[in-house]
Amino acid sequence: MSPASDSYLERAPLELRDWLVQFLPEPLQWLAHHLITVVAVLAVFGTFFAFTTIAERKLLARLQNRLGPNRSGLPWIKGLKLWGLTQPFADAVKTLTKEDIVPATADKWLHFLAPVIVVAFSLMTFAVLPFGRNMIPVELNAALLYFFAAGAATELAIFMAGWSSRNKYSLLAAMRALAQLISYELPLILSVVPIVLVAGTLSTKAIVLTQGYWTSGFLPHWFVFTPWGLAGFLIFIVAALAESNRSPFDLPEAESELIAGHLTEYSGFKYALFFMAEYFGLTALSALGVTLFLGGWQAPCVFLEFIPSYLWFMLKLIGMIVFFIWVRGTLLRLRIDQLTRLAWKFLVPLALLNVGNAAFWVLSAHWAGPLQLVRWAVSFAVIVIPFVIMGRSLTAGFAPRTYRYAS
């Protein structure tokens, strides 16, 4: 390990935890150790969620030629506006104090449980993400498996919400959500398989470590800089957009069609919980993308290593989220049949090919000299040619038209 791993900033959060823990009697120390970790993750990502909402609103506003929320300051200081940065807290107060309406015909228990479950499971995924060097809440051998298992459970909650609301829009949304989430679970997981193949482990911590080191000091060995890694990353991003119900795959809560989809009958705090879970899910998936493809907490160049690893992780995470916001401000929504077609006829075959591609990469690891170039060319061809062919068939029959004028 490079000396940067011993820098004071790098160790500070961990040492603070250990310092706090030592005040407790021996038998309670392990409990305190984990509780502090949980509280820290909740606090950091709770705040991160709050500022993601304001960032999304402000960025979207800028994309749309308006200003976005810029009024809310602090309540006891007149004239202080803080660029509207306290808006999420005002939103929180609003949603918390709103009346909670449960439809008379709803299944009360399921209606109540759905938001709780969705938040619980989306938070659980944070347990296996390495936020920095030695900063991982739980070190699991099968971390990836655990992440996808917990992530998939949120889909059940969305279906529960749609079904128990006893609202037709909610029901339609629930059907859509199931179709969409099941379709995209497959490319999401398949896009990650090449990494498991190359890194030879399911542990997120080990996967980040395999992406360490640099060629001549500034070319990082991140997986995204290999042909199969780039393809996997793009498939991962598309599938992650769909998994987190973001535009252009926001079908379950398609505002212009289904009002608010599965959230139609939710108000007040329960709605806020769904909202929160959605952002937690997005953050967790982005964090996983960063971990698997973008080198996790690793710095991009040697000389930038003095910046602590958790800051690098946060920077990359913010980059991913800004990208997702940008996409939301730009794209149109697909229809459900087009959505599933995209998954099954395009993303899944591509992801499967990519697995073969990664296998080739592993087999040709010892190639050297000019063969190295052949290795890159073959690997690119294996993924780009099917991409072009399948992409053509996907948009076949659709083209801009020319029009005639009446004489």
Binding site: D107, R166, S247, T330, R333, T395, R404, A406
Partner: protein, 400 residues
């Protein structure tokens, strides 16, 4: 598929759910073992995409529409009867509220009917001003429409707000001229109400000159988008026979390939002096209807530049026109224009008294809406919303 077995949710609570509460939506009356039940959804009157208080009762097989019943009348204001009890001039501001996006052209249609009824001449300058206002209205209506169409297609407001930016510029012009952004009340029988200043004309000319830049930008960003193409091409097809039989007019009819533009056919106002083309579609689908609007906007810009070039000096009101205590000769008249939504007509019968004996509006929005089911059958809910958006309705005009 028999509709007798169509059912919504069973309102009676049957078996309890897993946690003791009532079970979710009960699926009963399976009409076919394979396809399951049909679902009746009432979309509207409170719905984000029905463009006002419009209601569609759709019967769904999965997400596919097997039946669609448009329900309107939520905004009925008794417009025609009120106008029959008001003086001719008194209902002029009321026509603003018909198609509240395009008050300038609605005013013109009404003024045209009254002028026909009384045989009133209109000075040249007023004719040109009317065309300027009508074409600016067409620009703002079509920009709004494509913006809203993209909203229905699922963008989160971005194209709409860029369209609104342009619309706002036109509304600023209207406000500075007539005193109101949307309820302009600008036309009069025998002319117009206010003569625009040279500065106003210069500002309007510049706006029209810059408009193609907005259109180019808009088209570059959106028209070729793959999702846009896949969502609109082949969706909501309407063949020309059906469209003609139902009396459809405007861009919706022209998208089906029928050459029918009242500006060309009637040549009302001084339109024959202008050089412009009428774009025609070939497929009659949502994409064609969208493109008709874009191409018409480009033609409107041409008309505007010619109008600003040729605008003559002179009075804006016929000196003999009498607005207050106006009593036309007994008789009847039908004045029609090509409003942005289609053929907008006013049918008036006068018995010589100060208020019309019969006052009837031919609302293009309502008549274009009649084939909604035809267009939507076999498509999904998502498409129905887009098809409705592509028809371009304003509920103020549909319900009157």
């Amino acid at each position: 598929m028999s509709t007798s077995q169509v059912s919504g949710f069973n309102t009676q609570v049957s078996a309890p759910g897993p946690f003791g509460g009532p079970a979710g939506p009960t699926v009963r009356a399976v009409h076919d073992q394979f396809h399951g039940d049909l679902l009746e959804v009432s979309m509207g009157p409170q719905h984000p995409s029905t463009h006002g208080v419009f209601r569609m009762v759709v019967t769904l097989d999965g997400e596919q529409i097997v039946k669609l019943k448009p329900v309107f009348g939520y905004l009925h204001r008794n417009h025609e009867k009120i106008a029959e009890n008001t003086s001719y001039l008194g209902s002029m501001p009321y026509t603003d509220r018909l198609d509240y996006l395009c008050s300038m052209s609605t005013n013109w249609a009404y003024a045209l009917a009254v002028e026909k009824l009384d045989g009133q001449p209109v000075p040249d300058r007023a004719q040109y001003l009317r065309i300027i206002m009508a074409e600016l209205t067409r620009l703002l209506n079509h920009s709004c429409l494509v913006g809203f169409l993209f909203n229905d297609l699922g963008t989160s407001f971005t194209p709409l707000l860029y369209a609104f930016r342009e619309r706002e510029k036109i509304l600023d012009l209207f406000e500075s001229l007539s005193g109101s952004r949307m309820m302009c009340n600008y036309q009069r029988f025998g002319g117009c109400r206010v003569d625009p200043s040279p500065e106003w004309l210069e500002a309007a000319r510049r706006l029209a000159e810059n408009y193609p830049r907005f259109l180019d930008e808009y088209e570059a960003m959106l028209t070729g988008n793959e999702i846009m193409l896949a969502r609109t091409q082949g969706i909501g097809r309407l063949n020309s026979t059906h469209a003609i039989n139902a009396g459809l007019t405007g861009p919706v009819l022209r998208a089906s390939g029928v050459d029918y533009d009242v500006r060309k056919i009637d040549g009302y106002g001084v339109y024959p002096r202008f050089d412009f083309r009428v774009p025609l579609g070939a497929h009659g689908d949502t994409y064609d209807r969208y493109m008709m609007r874009i191409l018409e906007m480009r033609e409107s810009v041409k008309i505007l530049s010619q109008a600003f070039r040729d605008l003559p000096a002179g009075p804006i009101m016929d000196p003999k026109a009498k607005l207050r205590g106006f009593r036309p000769k007994a008789g009847e008249a039908y004045g029609r224009i090509e409003s942005p939504k289609g053929e907008l007509g006013f049918y008036l019968i006068s018995d010589g008294s100060p208020n019309p004996y019969r006052y009837r509006v031919r609302p293009p929005s309502l008549i274009n809406l009649t084939l909604l089911e035809e267009m939507c059958l076999g498509h999904t809910v998502a498409d129905a919303v887009v098809i409705l958006g592509s028809i371009d309705i304003v509920l103020g005009e549909v319900d009157r």
